[in-house]
């Protein structure tokens, strides 16, 4: 993992000092809330429905055990004993007092963490493949590039007041586990026939009220020109992105309105100019960063055998464990989606337990996934049973990864001041309706995603089943979408028709799954069946009139 040097540490320390001064000025009444708002937002501090919410950056979703432990301790000390892992691989605390915020930032800085640019119309925390450095199918480890991006984007003076927020994701596998094409910029590290690494730039994707899949803008940018290419992409956006309408201000609208070809032409013109300026960190800097991401000291003689005689363990392994590039090791995902729970929430004790497991069994590493789960990336297969037992004892052995109850949900109207409807109770009801794990496994891979408003923080457009909460004349109403996806087969969901009540949406989902079970061919996932047979059979079942009794 990357470790700060004195320069990195000085940057976050300076930020803590600056924010401490700003909070003191606010608490003393020297600045108004209006003046304070843009300052606190630059530090990830939102004023929500009930309290301040602090969003802490987890750069490219990677943590060590010391950092994870600190996240648990902060939950105990300053919040109500839990934290919420988000779809952007970050963590949020929902019950923060303003006067505590500088101390929290100081605690974070003591473990090389921060809340820089987790809000505001700037370049947000970069996300990455949560299996980076571990996945069997990985071509290039994206983490060194993500760290280069983190440093470049931190306090970038030109791009702090963009038309709108800006999110970058980076992957280095053929399998896209980061919803890369649904970001403002998605970078896929690829190799050419000569074995050279290049960055494929997808620009102008996004969700929100106008979901779009990003087109390829740069086919093969040399890694040692990645920063210059980003400068070009961002500068064209900063100059020409729309600022007249907040809902048309994301880069996807610019790329869509002028067209991918014209946007590419402008970027290439700017890129040619920027290459003359020498803005790119030298090769030695990328090499220095790569040095922090060497493979851990794997045991080359570790056995690849796994004793699956405990049936509960076997179920968890089949659902939550993925192939590792190193024989004898595995990637274990800890689901934060218990039946009836709040997706992505973990208690302080659970967070600390996961930290201990990472320290003892995963070379001190954890990842946060955009599906709001936690990954132990490097577990020796011989240790998996012990790890599972410890997780099970802490209520963390839910064997439901990528099943219908592994729900992505935004905080919704329970917390968020932008929301139109609650997301959490809907997620809870769905997981309760489908509580039986055998039934879930029968339904197979089924990605269900819930947003409590059009801003789509719950990624509803990209769900095999998506739910969008809206406000209909003061009553919460839920629209149902089918057929979205976020991987290599990225697609956007289609609304089935009129919306439903909170209970009605659960019934509608059950009917949709019944259609799938009746119509599927061998090996088809829900989304495959939907793509083959289309919306009509689902619509018919979902909106069929109930027989009238009596």
């Amino acid at each position: 993992m990357y470790q700060y040097d004195q320069y990195d540490q000085a940057m976050v320390d300076a930020r803590v000092a600056e924010f401490r001064d700003q909070v003191a000025r606010r608490l003393a009444g020297e600045i108004t809330e209006d003046q304070f708002k843009p300052l606190r937002l630059k530090n990830g501090l939102y004023l929500q429905l009930h309290a301040y919410m602090l969003r802490v950056a987890v750069p490219y979703g990677t943590l060590n055990s010391r950092q994870m432990r600190m996240l648990g301790d902060i939950a105990d000390k300053y919040d109500r004993g839990y934290g919420h892992f988000t779809t952007r691989q970050n963590i949020q605390y929902n019950w923060i007092k303003l006067q505590d915020a500088p101390d929290i930032l100081a605690d974070l800085a003591s473990v090389e963490m921060h809340a820089i640019q987790t809000s505001g119309n700037c370049i947000r925390n970069t996300t990455a493949d949560h299996f980076a450095g571990a996945a069997a199918d990985e071509l290039v480890d994206p983490r060194p590039y993500a760290e280069l991006l983190r440093q470049w984007s931190t306090f970038h003076p030109e791009f702090d007041y963009l038309p709108r927020k800006f999110k970058i994701a980076i992957i280095g596998s053929e399998t896209d586990r980061a919803a890369m094409k649904l970001h403002d910029i998605g970078i896929q590290l690829v190799t050419n026939d000569a074995g050279e690494v290049g960055c494929r730039f997808y620009v102008g994707g996004g969700m929100g009220r106008t979901p779009m899949i990003a087109p390829v803008i740069g086919e093969f940018v040399p890694p040692l020109q990645m920063i210059s290419y980003l400068e070009a992409c961002l500068r064209v956006y900063n100059r020409y992105g729309r600022r007249d309408n907040k809902y048309k201000a994301r880069i996807k609208i610019l790329v869509h309105e002028i067209g991918a070809d014209e946007y590419r032409r402008q970027v290439e013109e700017e890129f040619a100019h920027i290459l003359t300026l020498g803005l790119e960190p030298p090769p030695a800097e990328l090499e220095r960063i790569k040095g922090f991401f060497e493979q851990p000291g794997f045991d080359a003689s570790a056995s690849d055998e796994l004793d699956l005689s405990d049936p509960d363990f076997a179920v968890w392994v089949s659902q939550n464990v993925h192939a590792h590039k190193q024989p004898g090791y595995a990637i274990a995902t800890i689901s934060l989606k218990p039946v009836g729970g709040i997706p992505g929430d973990a208690s302080a004790d659970q967070i600390r337990l996961m930290a201990d497991l990472a320290r003892d069994y995963s070379f001190d590493e954890l990842r946060v996934t955009h599906a709001q789960n936690i990954v132990l990336p490097h577990v020796k297969k011989a240790d998996l049973y012990t790890v599972w037992q410890k997780l099970d004892a802490a209520g963390l052995a839910n064997a439901n990864l990528d099943l219908i109850s592994d729900i992505i949900a935004c905080p919704g109207l329970d917390y968020c001041s932008l929301a139109n409807a609650r997301s959490i109770p809907v997620a809870q009801k769905i997981s309760e309706r489908f509580a039986d794990l055998g039934r879930q496994k029968e339904l197979g891979e089924l990605k269900l995603k819930i947003s409590g408003c059009i801003n789509a923080c719950g990624h509803h457009h990209a769900g095999h089943i998506g739910i969008l909460g809206v406000d209909r004349k003061g009553v919460e109403n839920y629209q149902l979408l089918l057929g979205g996806s976020e991987g290599a087969d990225t697609s956007l969901g289609t609304i089935t028709g009129p919306g439903f009540s909170e209970d009605g949406i659960v019934d509608a989902i059950e009917k949709a799954t019944d259609v799938y079970l009746a119509q599927r061919s061998d090996g088809e996932r829900f989304v495959d069946t939907y793509r083959r047979i289309g919306m009509a059979p689902f619509k018919e079942a979902i909106y069929a009139k109930e027989p009238v009794n009596g």
């Binding site: 040097d5 320069y7 990195d8 000085a10 940057m11 300076a14 600056e18 843009p38 300052l39 119309n121 440093q151 470049w152 931190t154 306090f155 970038h156 003076p157 030109e158 791009f159 702090d160 007041y161 963009l162 500068r235 900063n238 100059r239 600022r243 100019h273 300026l277 020498g278 803005l279 960190p281 030298p282 030695a284 800097e285 220095r288």
Partner: protein
């Protein structure tokens, strides 16, 4: 009315009124020009030799187009005064300086002391821009 300009240059201030980018092209004797957010700073590049002052207007601090305009001018060798005017707040000064601004005429006065403190916020910087400060990567690798 602008009360005070914070200036970080040693030469004499330009007293000519700044003209619009459109008017500038037709006035061969104009030495001061004012860029609005929607203007293309590159339109000035053929004339940089005769410009002594460029004002970049920020009608609202949230409109960041002026940062790109400033950098583009400096990247192309503009050496005259580059002044940020309008809704310029103390919290933006540091980034503006990094993008090449060397004078500031904010709607609301900022004390020189507060400005100096703002410029000193970051001990070092991660990016190479146009202010001559070495990026952290340059310091790391000599």
């Amino acid at each position: 009315m602008v009360e005070q300009t914070l200036r970080y240059r040693d030469d004499e201030p330009v007293s000519d009124p700044a003209v619009t980018v459109d008017a500038f092209a037709d006035q061969s004797n104009a030495t001061a020009v004012r860029i609005e957010p929607g203007d293309d700073a590159r339109a000035l590049l053929p004339h940089l030799e005769r410009i002594a002052l460029v004002e970049v207007n920020f009608p609202a601090y949230t409109d960041g187009r002026g940062y790109s305009a400033a950098r583009i001018l400096r990247e192309h060798g503009y050496a005259g005064e580059l002044r940020a005017v309008g809704d310029v707040l103390v919290d933006q000064l540091s980034h503006m300086r990094r993008c090449g601004f060397d004078s500031f005429a904010p709607n609301q006065d900022i004390s020189r002391e507060a400005a100096d403190k703002a410029f000193a916020t970051w001990p070092d910087v991660y990016q190479k821009t146009v202010d001559g400060r070495p990026a952290i990567w340059a310091k790391r690798h000599g």
